[in-house]
Amino acid sequence: MLAIWVMGCLAAREALRERSMAVANRKTRPAKSSVSAKSARRDVAAKPAAKPADKHAAMRAATPAATPAAKGSVAPVLAFSREQELAAYRQMLLIRRFEEKAGQMYGMGLIGGFCHLYIGQEAVVVGMQMAIKAGDQVITGYRDHGHMLAIGMDAKGVLAELTGRRGGYSKGKGGSMHMFSVEKGFFGGHGIVGAQVSLGTGIAFANRYRGNDNVCLAYFGDGAANQGQVYESFNMAELWKLPVVYVIENNRYAMGTAVTRASAQADFSKRGVSFNIPGAKVDGMDVRAVMAAGDKAVRWCREGNGPYILEMMTYRYRGHSMSDPAKYRSREEVEKVRTEHDPIEQVRARLLARKMASEDELRKIDGDIRKVVNEAAEFATDNKEPDPSELWTDVVR
C-alpha cells in the first residue's frame, strides 16, 4: 500500500534497478493517502502567518523548521495547513486546466509550433514556488507553462503567446518555449535542452556577486541531465558556491526514451556526488514533499553553502509535445499514475478527508479557475495578431 508510485508504473523489467532506491525511500516516507493521527497532530502544530505579504508567505511561515535529513536522503514530508493545501490546490488546478485548454486549442489549430504540456507534473513547480521568496529567480526549459503560471504570470499573456498574438508575453516572437517575465523573476522558457542550467548558474553568480540572498531555481528534465554542460555548470557552481537549486524533473521519459534506457545513473539525485553537491530524491507528485525538500534546498543555498540538487520523481501524462502519441509506454502505466498518484487528487482527497474544505468549496474553486482559463482562451483567440513591423524590433538596440 505504501509502495511509491514509481514502483507502480515501472514494468517488471525495469524494476530491479529501482528496487533498492524504492526500498530506501519507503523507510523514510510516511503515509500520504490516509489521515493518520500523527499527521493530524502535525496539522494542528502548523500555524499560518497572520497577514501574508504575498500569497505564499503564509505557507512559508507555516512550515516548521524542517529537520535536515542526511545528504542524499528523502526530505521529510510535512503536513500542510488548510491555507497551504488550498493554495496548492488552486495553483495546480490552474496549471492543469490551462494546459488542458492549450491542448484543446492546439487540436483546433489555434496554436501552432511546439506545445509541451505540463499535465501531471504540477506539484513540482507549485511546491517549489512555495519554498522561495520574492527576489528569487526561476529558469526552465521548454515545458514552461506551469512555471510561468506558478510564478504569477498572467494566463492571458501566456496563452496569447501560444496563439501568436500581440498580447503574448513576447508579442508572438517567442512562442510556447520562449517567454519571460523579468519583473516576476522568470528568466525563461529556453528551447535548447540544458542551456537553462548554465544560464541559471550565471544568474546565481550574479546573486553572489551582488551579495544579496536570492536563490535561482534552475529546472531541467531527466533528459537534459545528460547534457554535458550540466556538469560544467555543476562544477562551477560548487566551486564558486553559487546559490542555485538544480531541480531535476524526472518525468520518466527523455522525450520518448525511458530514463533507464537513456541514463547510466538513473538516480539523478546522485548526479552531483562527484562535485560534492548534495542531492535529494523527492516524491514530486506530493506537493508537501516538494515544498519540504525545496525549503531545505533553498535554505542551504541562501546560507551560502553552494548549489543543491533535487530530483523530483514525477510523471508527464501527455506526450513529449502535442505531436507525440506516446507509443513508447502503455496506457495502463499512465492510468495507474493518474488514478493512484495524481498530485491534484491527493490534495483534494486530503482536503475532503480532513474536512478542510467541502465539495462545494472545491467546486467553486474549480469554477473560478475555469473562468480564468476561459477568459485567457478568449483573449488569446480574439487578441490581434502582431504587427509585421514587430519583425524588426528588439533584434539589437
Binding site: Q137, F187, G188, G202, I203, F205, Q229, E232, T393, D394
Partner: protein
C-alpha cells in the same frame, strides 16, 4: 600619448572599463592569476581582486552560460574564450542564446556582455587553434562583431563593446598581440559600426580586417611605389554593424574594390560585402570586385605551409596590379 602593444592595450581596455563600472566583471580560462595564455590580462587580478577577475574551469559552455545568466540580471561580463576556434564548443550561446534573448523576450532580456577571443593564424598552431571565425559570428542576427587592428582601437572598441547593451563578439588577433602603436592618454571610447580609412587613395579600395590591415597597408605602399597604383585602405573594424556608408563611399570614388580576408574562401565576410556592393554600387564599379582570401582548406601547422595560404602583401600587390591592368 604612449606607445603600447596590442597585448597591453587589451589589459588597459579592460581595466578602464572595470574602473568605471562595478558591474563589469571578467572571467575565463587562465585569465586571472596566470594573466592569460597570451599575457593579455596581466595585472587585472591584482588590481581588481578575485571577486571581479576569475579563473574558470576549462568549461566553455559554462563560461558563456554564466556570462549570459549574469548579464540577464544586469551585470556586464567580459568573458574570454581562449581561442576563437573553441566557439564551436560553446556555439549554442553564440548562435542561440545571446542573440535571441532580446528578440524572444519582447525586449525584456538584455544581454550586455562581451566575449573576447584570440582569433587568426600566423602562430603555427594548426587547424584547430588558428582559424579566423569572425564570419561565424557575423552571420548571426542579434550579435555585434568587431575586430580591431591597432592598440588604440582595441581600447576604444572594447570600451564601446562593454558599454553596448547587446552581446558583442570581440576578435583579437593573435599575430597582432606583439605589435605596437601610439595610444593617447586618458579614457578612450570608440563607436561600434564605424570603419576607418587608414590610407586614402583614388585608384582602388582595399577592405581589410585585423591582421590583414597592416598587410594591406604594406601592399598599398608598394603598389604606389612600384606600380603607381594609389589604393585606399579601409580598416573595416566592425562587421556588425557594418559601416556601409564608408565602404560604398570609397567604392564610388575609386570604382574598384578588393577584400583581404583571413577567412577560408566560402562565406568569408568579404563575400557579404561584395554582395552589398553589387546590390548598391554596381554602376560605380569599373571592374569586378575581387576577394583575396585563404583557400578553402583547413590551416596547416608548418610555417612554410601556413605562410603559403594566408593573404600576404605580395599576393595583394600581385592581385591588385593584375586586376587593374586587365
Amino acid at each position: 600619448m604612449a606607445e603600447l602593444t596590442y597585448r597591453d592595450a587589451v589589459t588597459r581596455a579592460i581595466a578602464q572599463e572595470m574602473s568605471r563600472d562595478p558591474d563589469v566583471i571578467f572571467f575565463g580560462e587562465d585569465v586571472a592569476k596566470p594573466g592569460g595564455v597570451f599575457k593579455t590580462t596581466v595585472g587585472l587580478y591584482e588590481q581588481f581582486g578575485p571577486r571581479r577577475v576569475r579563473d574558470t574551469p576549462i568549461s566553455e559552455q559554462a563560461i558563456l552560460g554564466a556570462a549570459m545568466g549574469a548579464a540577464m540580471t544586469g551585470l556586464k561580463p567580459i568573458a574570454e574564450i581562449m581561442f576563437s576556434d573553441f566557439f564551436a564548443v560553446c556555439f549554442d550561446y553564440i548562435a542561440n542564446e545571446f542573440p535571441k534573448s532580446r528578440y524572444m523576450s519582447n525586449g525584456q532580456l538584455k544581454c550586455p556582455l562581451v566575449v573576447r577571443t584570440a582569433n587568426g593564424a600566423g602562430s603555427r598552431f594548426g587547424a584547430q587553434h588558428s582559424q579566423s571565425v569572425e564570419n561565424w559570428a557575423m552571420m548571426i542576427p542579434g550579435l555585434k562583431v568587431v575586430a580591431p587592428s591597432t592598440p588604440r582601437d582595441v581600447i576604444g572598441l572594447m570600451a564601446a563593446a562593454v558599454r553596448d547593451p547587446d552581446p558583442v563578439i570581440f576578435f583579437e588577433h593573435k599575430s597582432l598581440y606583439a605589435t605596437k602603436g601610439e595610444v593617447p592618454d586618458g579614457e578612450i571610447v570608440d563607436t561600434l559600426g564605424s570603419a576607418k580609412i587608414v590610407r586614402p587613395g583614388k585608384d582602388a579600395t582595399i577592405l581589410a580586417l585585423a591582421l590583414m590591415v597592416p598587410r594591406a597597408l604594406d601592399a598599398a605602399t608598394r603598389l604606389k611605389r612600384e606600380h603607381d597604383i594609389d589604393c585606399e585602405v579601409i580598416d573595416v573594424r566592425s562587421l556588425v554593424p557594418l559601416d556601409t556608408r564608408a565602404i560604398l563611399g570609397s567604392v564610388a570614388r575609386t570604382h574598384r574594390v578588393f577584400t583581404v580576408e583571413e577567412n577560408p574562401r566560402l562565406c568569408g565576410w568579404g563575400a557579404e560585402i561584395v554582395s552589398i556592393i553589387a546590390d548598391e554600387a554596381f554602376y560605380d564599379l569599373d571592374g569586378p570586385p575581387v576577394r583575396i582570401t585563404t583557400p578553402h582548406i583547413p590551416l596547416p601547422a608548418a610555417d612554410t605551409l601556413e605562410d603559403l595560404v594566408l593573404p600576404t602583401p605580395d599576393r595583394i600587390v600581385e592581385t591588385v596590379r593584375r586586376s587593374l591592368s586587365a
